[in-house]
């Protein structure tokens, strides 16, 4: 960057006191990085007194974020006092709030997580690997060679939906319903995904009845390795109140939907932007398992998680007051040069590549991280078998969101071996 562009760059000219990194446009136009870089340098724990989401703290350094993550006694995830995103959780009229343990504190969080986690335990996942691999292969085989296609819609969404359908043993022909319900569960009327709270409520009830039906069927069949069957038969979950079951199920669907989808797209873009890394990968597909955590760091599919201070505290020398909103910007921590060597480079064989913030840490650390990694590994193995290159042939379009860091469109052309 020349000094000339530095001078004109609003990230370096806006007074710190007015620096607000929550504007979704900064993420959509991909300029947010220089704002975070400045905060890490000049004001790593930054107070923004006024924003569309009210006053909030930004925590931007890796180790400060870690400190917030492990201190759940002070920094709460509880939905009723705001929840886990910079935007307070909606408790609006007719909102139909699903209870999810990602937005609960211990001990309630612990009991629920313990009940559900065996469903995504690695020993259970190995049983699903062959099916996921076969279905991924079918999706990739159906793509045209040498023609421009949208990687997001044709591949990332399709593969993620396929995996979810496999995890739940969801009726195959109706699998796009899962994607829809996931979108609806996280939607507010402002997003345009639903037109009113009423519509959201109706669609989620429809989802509820659909799953109730699946649950009733599975409970009467012998146990299988899909998540619904496991939950219907496990002593820890089989007597779970229905709304709780639904909340947990939605959490699994939502948690694994956009995040994995955008990791699939993000990986393709990163490799295209770093052709030497792409060549390294083609020369040695054995690097895939090392590359997956680097893709997840690079993309950081969730830009942040938020906490609410239950008591006065200190982070990085700043006084946080009881009730304050504290935003942990994973996207920034994942570029912190004090912890990550050459953080602005995408290096597929990075030593220590698992040391990133994208899955969070502490008791809320992503429960589906193994599912996500497994899915990405399989997908890349199958892509490399089939294509000499997935070439990005146009500008990516990014999601307008300060929470989900992803793509709405990524034009590519496939090259056969």
């Amino acid at each position: 960057m020349t000094t000339d562009t530095l001078v004109r760059d609003p990230a370096s000219t806006v007074p710190l006191s007015r620096m607000d990194v929550s504007d979704p446009k900064l993420f959509q136009n991909d300029t947010i990085g220089s704002y975070f870089a400045r905060l890490r340098r000049e004001d790593p724990v930054h107070y923004c007194p006024e924003s569309a989401y009210g006053p909030y703290w930004s925590v931007t350094k890796f180790n400060d974020i870690m400190q917030v993550e492990v201190n759940h006694q002070t920094f709460s995830s509880e939905a009723k006092i705001g929840g886990i995103a910079i935007q307070d959780m909606q408790t609006g009229e007719g909102a139909l709030e699903l209870e999810m343990f990602i937005a609960m504190d211990p001990p309630k969080h612990d009991a629920q997580r313990k009940a559900v986690s065996p469903a995504v335990a690695p020993s259970n996942l190995v049983l699903l690997e062959p099916i996921i691999r076969e279905r991924a292969g079918l999706i990739l085989d159906s793509l045209p060679i040498g023609e421009e296609i949208d990687w997001v819609d044709r591949v990332s969404v399709e593969l993620t939906t396929m995996t979810l359908a496999t995890l739940f043993d969801f009726p195959w022909e109706e699998r796009r319903r899962l994607t829809r319900w996931s979108d609806v569960a996280t939607a507010t009327p402002e997003t345009g995904v639903v037109s009113s709270w009423e519509q959201r409520r109706e669609e989620l009830l429809e989802c509820a009845y659909y799953f109730k039906d699946l649950w009733d069927k599975r409970i009467n069949e012998s146990p299988k390795s899909d998540l619904i069957s496991m939950m219907a038969h496990s002593p820890a979950t089989r007597d779970m109140p229905f709304l709780e079951f639904l909340g947990n199920l939605m959490l699994l669907i939502v948690g694994g939907n956009d995040t994995t989808r955008n990791s699939i797209s993000g990986g393709v873009l990163a490799l295209n932007q770093n052709p030497a890394e792409y060549r390294k990968l083609m020369a040695d597909p054995g690097l895939i398992p090392k590359m997956i955590p680097e893709i997840i760091r690079w993309q950081t599919p969730l830009t942040h998680m938020r906490r609410t201070a239950l008591m006065d505290a200190e982070i990085g020398g700043k006084k946080i007051r009881k009730g304050d909103k504290v935003v942990m910007w994973y996207m920034s921590g994942n570029r912190d040069e004090e912890v990550i060597d050459r953080p602005d480079e995408f290096i597929i064989d990075r030593p220590n590549s698992r040391h990133h913030l994208s899955f969070g840490f502490g008791v809320h650390r992503c429960m589906g991280n193994r599912v996500a990694e497994l899915q990405l590994r399989i997908i890349w193995e199958e892509i490399l078998k089939r294509f000499s290159k997935v070439e990005v042939v146009g500008a990516p379009e990014r999601t307008l969101s300060n929470f989900i860091h992803g793509f709405t469109h990524l034009p590519v052309k496939l090259h056969a071996h």
Binding site: M66, V70, K114, S117, R354, F359, F361, R365
Partner: protein
């Protein structure tokens, strides 16, 4: 230089001699023991360094303190038992020379 011995689910053994004060997690990660990822860097924040302490050794390492962060994380780890510990919370000393830690089945 105390030695810590990691035993994989398939029986493979990794004896590693380390300096006093090294954590069992660092011993494993620095020597590429499969199944110990240590994602958080040893901060007691991820549970990817979960091990089962051999019954003969648990009195000397002690158990995870009830209600502490280590116990909080262990309750969600696959195959967690009362002999479960996080390897990053075990610091090697001459007293622990020969410590035997088993990698839980399916951890990877």
């Amino acid at each position: 230089m105390p030695t810590v011995i990691f035993i994989e689910p398939d029986g493979a053994e990794y004896p590693i001699a380390v300096k006093n004060g090294t954590t069992a997690r660092d011993a494993a990660v620095n020597n590429g023991v499969p199944g110990i990822d240590g994602d958080c860097g040893g901060e007691c924040a991820c549970a990817t360094c979960h091990v089962h302490v051999d019954a003969a050794w648990i009195a000397r390492t002690g158990m995870a303190e009830p209600g502490g962060m280590e116990a909080n994380l262990l309750q969600f780890a696959e195959g967690s038992t009362e002999n479960s510990r996080l390897a990053c919370q075990i610091t090697m000393t001459d007293d622990l020379d020969g410590l035997t830690l088993r990698i839980p089945d399916g951890q990877h």
